[in-house]
């Protein structure tokens, strides 16, 4: 049944786009729209997203408060067809609407929606055609002037501490965070407590320690003790990502900037990455001076 769907979709698309295909600057096709919507869910904490398309794939960026940035990378291989006629394409789009379109036929596992995505350059709408069981929906979403995205200048060379662990243990920790706390303090150190998440809420302090010897930890490289505070309200959206992920890489650079990389497997078993960058809270140093 799946096959016939694709056939139908294929022929239909050929008729539709035989001459138009030339025109589109970006034209991609995916058998299962959920592969895209699943990843986008992990970064969906603001309405507006900036989309970058290159020949390697698609990067969708969401930012908030100039302090946090989430990037979702969807490699070209995740698409069944992927044609780009320019070096790179950048546009802004309403993520809410995009997600709604992608799940227009519902988003429950048994059904599979095929999708084609087309964009014809600056000022044109993003055209999405979705097909399931012979029913076709065409969507046209207006694109916006691309925003300047933040550059966190986070480079692997400056990374001081790095831990890779199974998402499962971080999932539990993130979901149990004391929401009354304003900040989440992340401590990474070569000695005890190794990796610690701390909250300071109205009800008391909580620490969640994961030792380097834990079988949840796959890679542990900490060179010096670092303890930085991050706004919990900014990091909270990454709970969405951790819930979908299988592995997480936590890195901290010399300035205390945090990088959280989530490895997310889609239904075809392909691996996609979602990355969160977050600025540390300056308050910690002030606090240290005070007490």
């Amino acid at each position: 049944m799946d096959k016939t769907n694709k056939l139908f979709f294929g022929t239909n698309m050929v008729l539709l786009t035989q001459n138009e295909e030339e025109r589109y600057a970006f034209n991609a096709n995916m058998n299962n729209a959920r592969n895209l919507s699943h990843i986008l869910k992990a970064i969906h904490f603001k309405d507006t997203a900036t989309v970058f398309v290159t020949e390697n794939g698609m990067k969708v960026t969401v930012e908030d408060a100039k302090c946090i940035q989430a990037n979702a990378f969807i490699q070209a291989q995740v698409f069944q067809d992927y044609i780009i006629r320019e070096d790179s394409i950048t546009f802004c789009i309403n993520l809410d609407i995009l997600q709604e379109c992608l799940s227009i036929f519902g988003s429950n596992p048994p059904s599979v929606t095929a999708m084609r995505m087309m964009y014809n350059g600056y000022g044109t709408p993003l055209v999405i055609t979705l097909e399931e069981d012979g029913a076709v929906t065409g969507c046209s979403i207006k694109t916006q002037e691309p925003d300047q995205t933040l550059d966190f200048e986070f480079s692997a060379a400056n990374v001081i501490n790095k831990v890779i662990m199974k998402a499962e243990c971080l999932k539990e920790a993130f979901n149990e965070l004391d929401v009354t706390s304003e900040v989440l303090q992340i401590t990474m150190s070569p000695d005890h407590p190794f990796f610690r998440l701390s909250t300071f809420g109205t009800l008391g302090q909580s620490h969640h320690d994961i030792p380097n010897t834990s079988d949840m930890v796959e890679f542990f490289e900490c060179n010096q003790t670092q303890s930085n505070r991050y706004r919990l309200s900014l990091l909270k959206p990454s709970v969405k990502a951790v819930n979908l992920a299988t592995k997480v890489c936590v890195r901290m650079d010399h300035r205390g900037f945090l990088s959280l990389q989530y490895m997310i497997k889609n239904e075809n078993g392909q691996i996609c990455f979602v990355e969160y960058y977050c600025c540390p809270d300056e308050e910690l140093e002030n606090n240290d001076n005070q007490f």
Partner: protein, 421 residues
């Protein structure tokens, strides 16, 4: 105070916290010599819960407060209270606690002013919670359950099966006992139609109880929400539940106990049964005269199935009846005819009826005879003949001594069974 809870008991402890959280806003934390007591009382002071986790539940138990003794009595036992939300933060997810926690250290350090819960989990993960607390005095409900005339004991499942049938929005439930049956029915105190549209009632046979001692026929009405909280706890503990009570306006005590292990006392206030309320109750009773038939039916069922109690318990569910009662006036003719029928059947003399009307409570308490239901019907009929229904009073008995200062003291008055060694 310092203690360590092994994995097997952490869930019970967590469940107790969840139960306390359903009732009160603060958990009173009292390390005693024989174990750790957790108590709470709700805002309206109509429900009090006390869990006592005995020494044997812990790997290590150092209450560390009996060091200072005066005349052999430990004084200055450090007590504190913690906001329920704080404690829930520690024991938020029961499923993850069951799955991963290997032990739980509880550490109360007066000097450091910290109450520390440390959960040691699988994969070497440690969760440490340093909680803020308030120093306070002990609270104690005033009750002496051993002196109460009515005692029921049953598997919690029996009560759970009953309670599940009641509407989630129902606030109060009445437990009516006589030596030959136990009825649980929905209770509504307002006259608005919505609350009267459905009544639920279930009848249980004495055989379904492990222990059944009824010294006084009585009705007690109490909060269903609190009962649900108690039963949710029993679900984990899997041990029988005991009820001790006397009558309306006097506390109803639920006890869940495992010898030398832990004990939980739940003290619930019951609605005071004044004359009006009993009349009203009786009115309802007479309106639902077929109930007697239902009970008889159940007896037959029980007779056949008397060999297995659990089967009996299941059958009891079929005895549930919901009665559509619209307006009192519209039901009255119907009800009155039924009650007449019943009173002809049971009543001995009209004199009896009048006497019963005024001294119903006392009479009931004194003889506890099976004639009571008939007398009740007689009262009901008497009531129906009067055109105006008296204003119903709903008073909850406050069984706590008044509190002088909200922040601190709750006066201890009770010969409480928690203190016994």
């Amino acid at each position: 105070m310092k203690c360590i809870l092994p994995a097997v008991n952490v869930k019970l402890f967590a469940k107790a916290i969840h139960c306390l959280a359903k009732i009160g806003l603060e958990i009173y934390f009292e390390p005693l010599e024989n174990g750790l007591a957790l108590k709470t009382v709700n805002l309206s002071r109509s429900a009090y819960v006390c869990f006592l986790f005995m020494r044997s539940m812990f790997h290590v138990y150092e209450h560390g407060c009996g060091d200072v003794t005066v005349n052999g009595d430990a004084v200055d036992t450090f007590k504190c209270k913690v906001a329920v939300k704080t404690m829930l933060q520690v024991f938020k997810s029961l499923s993850s606690i069951e799955r991963s926690v290997e032990s739980c250290d509880i550490n109360l350090d007066e000097e450091e002013c910290s109450l520390v819960f440390q959960l040691k989990c699988r994969h070497g993960i440690t969760k440490t919670h340093q909680l803020t607390f308030q120093e306070c005095d002990s609270i104690q409900a005033v009750f002496a359950k051993d002196l109460l005339p009515n005692i029921l004991k049953c598997e919690h499942k029996l009560l759970s099966d009953v309670v599940v049938n009641f509407s989630p929005s129902l606030e109060e439930i009445s437990l009516c006992v006589t030596p030959c049956r136990v009825n649980m029915k929905s209770y509504t105190d307002s006259d608005d139609e919505a609350s009267l549209t459905m009544r639920t009632e279930m009848s249980l046979n004495p055989e379904e109880f492990a222990d059944f001692q009824i010294g006084v026929d009585t009705d007690v009405t109490f909060s269903l929400k609190d009962l649900r909280a108690i039963l949710a706890f029993c679900d984990v503990a899997c041990i029988p539940i005991q009820l001790f009570f006397e009558g309306g306006g006097k506390p109803l005590i639920f006890t869940v106990e495992q010898e030398n292990y832990f004990r939980a006392n739940f003290v619930l206030a019951t609605i005071a049964n004044d004359e009006f309320s009993s009349q009203r109750e009786n009115n309802v009773m007479s309106n639902t005269a077929f109930k007697t038939k239902m009970v008889n039916g159940s007896k037959n069922l029980q007779g056949k199935k008397s060999t297995t109690k659990s089967v009996g318990a299941r059958y009891s569910r079929t005895k549930q009846s919901s009665i559509n009662q619209q307006k009192t006036s519209s039901v009255l003719p119907n009800g009155s005819s039924k009650s007449t029928e019943m009173s002809n059947h049971g009543r001995t003399s009209p004199l009896n009826e009048i006497v019963e009307d005024t001294t119903r409570n006392n009479g009931g308490h004194a003889d506890g005879s099976p004639e009571i239901p008939d007398q009740n019907f007689a009262v009901g009929q008497d009531h129906i003949s009067s055109p105006v229904e008296p204003e119903y009073r709903d008073m909850r008995e406050v069984f706590f001594a008044p509190c002088q200062n909200d922040d601190h003291t709750i006066v201890v008055l009770a010969p409480d069974s928690d203190e016994e060694s």
